[in-house]
Amino acid sequence: MPKVGVLALQGDFEAHRRALESAGADAVEVRTAAGLNEVDALVIPGGESTTMLKLIEAEHLFEPLRQFGQTKPVFGTCAGAILLAREVLSPQQQSLGLVDLTVERNAYGRQIDSRIVTLHPEPASHLPGNLEAVFIRAPIIRRTGAAVTVLASYGGHPVLIEQGRHLIATFHPELTPDASIHRLFLAKVTQG
C-alpha cells in the first residue's frame, strides 16, 4: 500500500487524508522535512496559499519540497495548485515551480462567487463522465506548458491537469465523496 503524505501546515489536510484512505492509501500528515523522507508521494491541500508559503519559508521547507517533487509524485488542489505552479499572478508570489503553469489567484472572485459544477473529463483521463467539482475562491489556470495534459476544463479553462507524475486540480476533489481523482493519483504513485 503506497504511503502518501498530506502537507499539513494549514488547510483541509484532514479531508485529503480521508479521501486518500478511502482510495486505498496509507495517508500520513507531513509538517517537517524529516516527514517528507517517510512518504512515497505528497498531497498539497486546499487552504490559504500565502499562509502555507509563510510556513514553508519559516520552516525551511522550500528546497526539500522542490527536491521531493523532482523524483516523486505531488498532487495539489486549489492552494496546492498555486504552490506547484511555475508562475503565480494576482498578486505575484513565490512558488515551487514544479508544474509548467501560470495561475491567477482568486480569479473567479470572492466567496460569493464560489460554486459547485459538473465536469465532463476528457475520455483519455479514464475518469467518470460526470464529476462534481467544488470551487472555493479558486484560481484559474491562464497558461499551460507543452508538457501539461488537460484532463478536464470548465468555462474554457483547464481545471484538472497532469504533467508527468504530478496532478493538479483548481477545485477540491477532497470535498466530494467520489474518490476517483484520488485513485487516479494513487495510480501514478504505484506506477512509480
Partner: protein
Amino acid sequence: MRFLDEAFRLKSGLAEMLKGGVIMDVTNAEQAVIAEKAGAAAVMALERVPADIRKEGGVARMAPISKIREIMAAVSIPVMAKARIGHFMEAQVLEALKVDYIDESEVLTPADEEHHIDKRAFKTPFVCGARNLGEALRRIAEGAAMIRTKGEAGSGNIVEAVRHIRTIVKEMKQLTVLGHEELVAESKKLQAPLELVEWVAEHGKLPVPNFSAGGIATPADAALVMQLGAEAVFVGSGIFKSNDPEARAKAIVKAATYFKDPAKLLEASEELGVGMFGLDVAKLPESELLQTRGW
C-alpha cells in the same frame, strides 16, 4: 438532510480551507497587511478590537464600509466582517459588499434580543459564537457554517475559551453513547433540532468546522485550545494590543500548525515580549460579559 445542501457545502467548504489557521482581528489596511504577512489565513474587519470596545463602552456596530473596503483591497486572503446579533440589515450590506464571511458576533452590541439572523437566507457564509453544544446547534440550524467558542473577547484571558471548547467537546462525546430515545430527550434539553443531535451522535463532531475565539493572547493559548479540539483560532485583541504585533502574529500562526509539538512551540514563543494586559473574568460584573449575549 437540508443543512447539508449544496449552498451549505460551499459555505462550510471555505471554513474547511481555514482549518489549522489563524483569523486575526484588524481595524485598518495597515494591520491587515501585517496579518497577511505574518501568515493569517483570514482577517476579521471590525470597528474597534474587543479590548477597546470593553474599555470605551458605547454601542459597537459593524465597521465603517470605507474601512472594510480598504482592508479588502489591501490583502488577497479572505476578509470577514462582524454584524450585530439579529441585525440582518448590516449582514445584507456586508453581503452586497462581498465580504467572504460574516461573523454574527456577541462582541458587537446586539440589535435584537430575541432573534438571531436567518442565515439560510444568505449566500455569504456565517460564523457564530457558542458556549455549549445547544447554542452551537441552534446557530447551525439557523444556517451558521462555522462555529467558534465565544470565550470572553477582549479579556486576554483564555479561561472562558477553555471552558467553552471543553464543554462542547464533552457534550458531543456524551451524545455518541446514547440510545435513540435518549437523543430525542437530549434534543429537547439542548433546544436543538433532532436531526442535528443525531448527526453529532453518529459522527462525534459538529457538522461544521469548530474554531476557538475569545481570550487567545499567546502561541501557547492557541495550541492549548487546538489540543482541546478547536480546528483553528481567532485572535482579536491579543495581537494588536500586544507590544510586538508582527512577531506575535507570526508566532501564533506557527503555534496553530505545530500545536502538538512543544519544541516548535518553544521556538515560536522564544522572541516574544509581554502580551496584552489581561482581565480576571471572574471579577467582571455580569453586565460587562460579552459571552452571555446571544441565546
